[in-house]
Subunit: 176 residues, 2 copies
DNA sequence: GGCTGTTAACCGTCCAGACGGTATAGTTTT
DNA sequence: AAAACTATACCGTCTGGACGGTTAACAGCC
């Protein structure tokens, strides 16, 4: 990876982390730059504005999202994989998703909302394909969002580790 | 209601509306005061700080929450009522919930998160009681959160009107 | 019924600091 | 040497909050 590309990526990582760990307000230009080990001027060279930073995350999400879609749509155990990963929330994809979920709450940052809506369409298609049931797919997406939100809100025990087991037991007992 | 109490309530209404419609950043002291038809000084008389404003909403939620819990816990159709109202999101309770859900995303405003966690406990107890199934109750709460989030994100068609019908059809077909 | 003092409710102004963004000069890479 | 990148200094705006008034209702007292 070219050096510039690497710095861009580091900046996005830093922005993500600040937003996730300390909320949108902590994701200032100065803080993001410092967290990435770059000066503020350096940040603004790569991302000409705060909005460009958000846009950068949105593009990241889309790249991740396409890969996720491909990966899930062919698996018979897509539901389980999908929900378990929602609870874990430890992959790069999850971090981008969580950050954009927070950013999208603000009036500015339409880009974040657009990216999230687009991703939802991707996932709905993938899960519908894998599960053969659009309603169940929709339900899974809403549960996943709900889990993400509680994770973002509460501390560690916001979503009990075994909760996903019990939810899966419930959902897989559904008539198909 | 005493005049002071009325003004307090108007201020909370204004704060809620600004946060819900235009995001946390729009809920500034000046904007909230103006929206409520009060001067900034007047606002600060009733709520000594921005945090006190959030705390005011948190207390509102708790009052609402207790009433909701009582109302739901005895109904056999609690699941349907609960989910339908989550989608509609048009009662005063829903507005307070949505506002705190946005505020809770920010590092400051621990009060918002505390109130939301407490409410979750209330509802989990009420739904478990009404449904006789803690797992199904938990699932319903997560779905509800997911629906709230999508409502907050997307415009009008974020959550299709008939989605709740289909989800309910799915969930009520579960073995009990 | 007037006079006085008290208090709740409210207003408008001011300020320090934080923030997003610009300008520009300097450095490294190719 | 050009291009890519980085750092520093600075600017205008906005925000939360502090603060010193003002108004009106009310209570006690003579």
């Amino acid at each position: 990876m070219a050096k510039g590309e690497q710095t861009r990526s580091r900046l996005l990582d830093a922005f993500e982390e600040l937003v996730i760990e300390h909320g949108e307000r902590a994701g200032t230009l100065a803080a993001t730059a410092e967290h990435a080990g770059v000066s503020k001027g350096g940040l603004l060279y790569h991302f000409g504005s705060k909005d460009a930073l958000v846009q950068g995350l949105a593009e990241r999400l889309e790249v991740f999202g396409e890969a996720e879609q491909r990966r899930l749509s062919s698996r018979p155990d897509a539901l389980e994989v999908f929900l378990r990963e929602s609870v874990a929330a430890d992959r790069p994809f999850d971090r981008t998703y969580l950050a954009l979920l927070k950013l999208g709450q603000l009036d500015e940052h339409q880009a974040a909302r657009d990216a999230l809506v687009l991703l939802d369409d991707y996932f709905l298609a993938a899960l519908t394909d894998a599960l053969g049931d659009a309603d169940l797919a929709f339900l899974a997406l809403r549960v996943s969002d709900g889990i993400y939100v509680r994770t973002a809100l509460g501390g560690s025990d916001a979503v009990p580790a075994d909760a996903v087991d019990r939810i899966l037991a419930l959902l897989t007992s559904l008539p198909r």
